[in-house]
């Protein structure tokens, strides 16, 4: 070895000067090359997996209208759901409703009274004016100027409810305005609910030119808008029972409330209307007249709701008209006392900040209407925790396919999730539900509401993933679920 090194040394020693320089340059080049050589360092890892039985399985909840196909040992599911529709008008109980947006004197309304009753339609304010400043007087019963509708009370009606808004534009002292309930127009047999300027309200029975005051109360007209509301039972068992209330429009405070029972004019009202005193030089305005058969026009009712769902009624500008929240009976009542006729209305159902039903348009919503919510909280899949541990669970949208031209909403959540997956039209508004707890040994459900308008010809296809994990763990399991929503 020593000899070999000596030979190498001798080899370099005996080289001439330039060759030594060349060799040194070569060594330098080699050193630079090595210095810039690639270096890779390896850390080994071994991964062993042994797969075990899953802790949570899916179940078919057996919900009517929901078809569930489970596979992969109940860890994957295809679900077929029928969209149950939306909000449907099931009863219009108002047989007369008039917001005077068109001239009522051109056919639908007949004015009784003197030869110059002074009835006119205010096209700007869209209400009806009775002007008695021209001294018109006495042409009809007891100076009453009456406008009545040609539409009769529907046969079989037990109770007739009436509402009208009134405003005293001018005049005072001994003047009145109110609601008329005819048994017979020609015979001049009717009841009248009267609200005076001087402190009085009353229920009177009129027979030809005579009258009987059945009830009176003290109340004053301060020249503001009022709502007059009344009801009469036409047949037994409550036949002849009458109730009459006057509300301030702005505050909805009751300024007068009267009841009376009288059945001299049996079957009244067969025709209904409104009016006032004629010969006392007053000017009156009337607006928003509604006559309802067997339903109170003060309310719009929505049935078929889940407890806690709130229905919002908005006008065509989006302004809130009324709202009501469903109780345990699934009914929400919206008080429309101050605005019983809403044209181009929108109804919307929400649960907190969740849109169960985005705004659905109606050409008109009238006091006394009944709408049925055909959106159900539908259990589409059951979840059973077979573990001794509690899990957090949630849902996520992986994919959404929607047919063109469909609108509506889909909400999906697990158990008691506060925030569901929300899909409106073709867009995923909220793609992941909030988490809920699936307790050890417990069964919970994936819920959904489906309202598609119009029902699509091809299904909306939702690809979901159901997730569960132990709260303190970073290990999470997901199962695939496909939901097809049909029209």
């Amino acid at each position: 070895m020593v000899e070999r090194l000596y030979r190498i040394y001798s080899f370099f020693y005996n080289l001439n000067y330039y060759f030594k320089i060349l060799m040194l340059l070569l060594l330098l080049l080699i050193t630079v090359a090595v210095a810039t050589a690639s270096v890779f360092i390896y850390y080994p890892a071994g991964i062993t997996t042994s797969w075990v039985n899953p802790s949570v399985v899916l179940l078919d909840p057996g919900t009517s209208g929901v078809l569930v196909h489970l596979y992969e040992d109940d860890t994957a599911a295809d679900v077929e759901v029928a969209s149950l529709g939306c909000l449907v008008l099931v009863e219009r109980n108002a047989f007369i409703y008039d917001d005077f947006s068109t001239n009522p004197l051109l056919g639908r309304l007949t004015v009784l009274g003197s030869s110059r009753p002074g009835a006119s339609w205010d096209s700007v304010n869209q209400y009806l004016v009775f002007d008695a400043t021209n001294s018109a007087s006495g042409g009809y019963n007891l100076d009453h100027m009456i406008a009545y509708y040609s539409t009769p009370t529907p046969s079989g009606t037990d109770r007739v409810y009436l509402m009208v808004k009134t405003l005293r534009l001018s005049g005072a002292n001994g003047l009145w305005k109110g609601l008329f309930l005819f048994q017979d127009v020609v015979q001049r047999n009717y009841y009248v609910f009267m609200f005076w300027d001087t402190p009085n309200t009353g229920i009177s029975r009129i027979v030809s030119n005579g009258y009987v005051r059945l009830a009176t109360s003290s109340a004053s007209d301060y020249g503001i808008w009022y709502v007059q509301w009344g009801v009469r039972d036409r047949i037994s068992p409550g036949n002849g029972y009458m109730e009459y209330k006057v509300y301030e429009l702005d505050t909805q405070n009751i300024v007068s409330s009267l009841t009376a029972t009288d059945d001299v004019h049996q079957g009244a009202p067969n025709y209904v209307g409104f009016g006032g005193a004629l010969n006392r030089r007053e000017v009156l305005a009337f607006d928003d007249f509604v006559a309802c058969a067997d339903a109170n026009p003060q309310f719009v009712n929505v049935t078929g709701l889940e407890f806690g769902w709130t229905v919002y009624l908005r006008d065509n500008r989006g302004a809130l008209v009324a709202q009501g929240t469903a109780g345990s009976d699934g009914v929400a009542s919206l008080n429309v006392l101050t605005r019983p006729i809403v044209r181009n209305a929108r109804l919307e159902i929400r649960q907190g900040n969740i849109a169960i039903l985005p705004a659905q348009s109606f050409s008109e919503v009238i006091g006394g209407d009944v709408y049925e919510c055909r959106i159900k909280d539908t259990s589409i899949i059951g979840l059973q925790n077979q573990d001794s541990k509690d899990y957090n669970v949630y849902l996520r949208v992986e994919n959404l396919q929607t047919p063109s031209g469909y609108s509506g909403s889909i909400n999906l959540w697990v158990g008691s999730s506060a925030t569901p997956i929300q899909i409106v039209g073709g867009s995923v508004v909220v793609g992941t539900s909030s988490t809920a707890t699936l307790y050890s040994g417990a069964t919970a459900f994936i819920h959904g509401t489906f309202s598609l308008t119009p029902p699509p010809s091809t299904p909306v296809v939702l690809t979901l993933s159901f997730h569960y994990y132990i709260p303190s763990s970073e290990v999470e399991v997901e199962y695939p679920i496909t939901v097809r929503v049909h029209g």
């Binding site: 132990i470 763990s473 290990v475």
Partner: protein
């Protein structure tokens, strides 16, 4: 001819020595560490995953129990930490032995930024080979390793894979 052979010999000797030194230097400085956050090591959780590191923090044994149905994702199984205050390192993986049991439909190693959770890259553990994009790990930075399995099996079973974390101070060349 003798001279060229000598030069080649010298060159090889130099390369070998320098390479060895470089590795020794890296290990002695311990710039890149593997460590676990605690969530998935030695604790009983969803399916009792265990992650065991060697004392030198450069070898790891991972034992998992995914469900035989569905997709099981183990988050934050491991972290890769660059403790160098100046130098960026480049990271890749090689799969030497892949999961080959047909029950494992998908097996994926997912690398994310440990701070933001942003996806850095994935490695398919169902096939052998080297994944060298490479992914940079800046000075003081951390990467998070998740493991994701989709198993579809009628019964219990098991399978193993061996992989290697590769790192280098340069990104221009691929590992051999």
């Amino acid at each position: 001819m003798k001279i060229s052979a000598l030069l080649a010999s010298l060159l090889n000797i130099a390369l070998f020595l320098c390479y060895t030194m470089e590795i020794t230097d890296s290990l002695s400085q311990r710039l890149l560490y593997l460590y676990v956050t605690g969530t998935n090591t030695g604790v009983r959780n969803l399916s009792d995953a265990e992650v065991n590191l060697s004392e030198e923090s450069n070898t790891v044994i991972i034992t998992l129990h995914p469900y035989r149905r569905g997709t099981t994702c183990y988050k934050d199984v491991l972290r890769i930490s660059n403790r160098d205050t100046k130098k960026t390192y480049y990271i890749g993986f090689s799969v030497d032995t892949a999961f080959d049991d047909a029950a494992i439909a998908e097996a994926e190693l997912v690398v994310r930024d440990a701070t933001t959770g942003a996806l850095v890259g994935t490695v398919n553990l169902r096939s052998t080979g080297t994944t060298w994009s490479p992914w940079s790990l800046g000075a003081g930075g951390q990467l998070r390793v998740d493991l994701r399995f989709r198993v579809s099996s009628d019964a219990s079973g098991s399978d193993s894979a061996s992989i290697q974390l590769i790192y280098s101070p340069q990104s221009a060349e691929s590992p051999p």
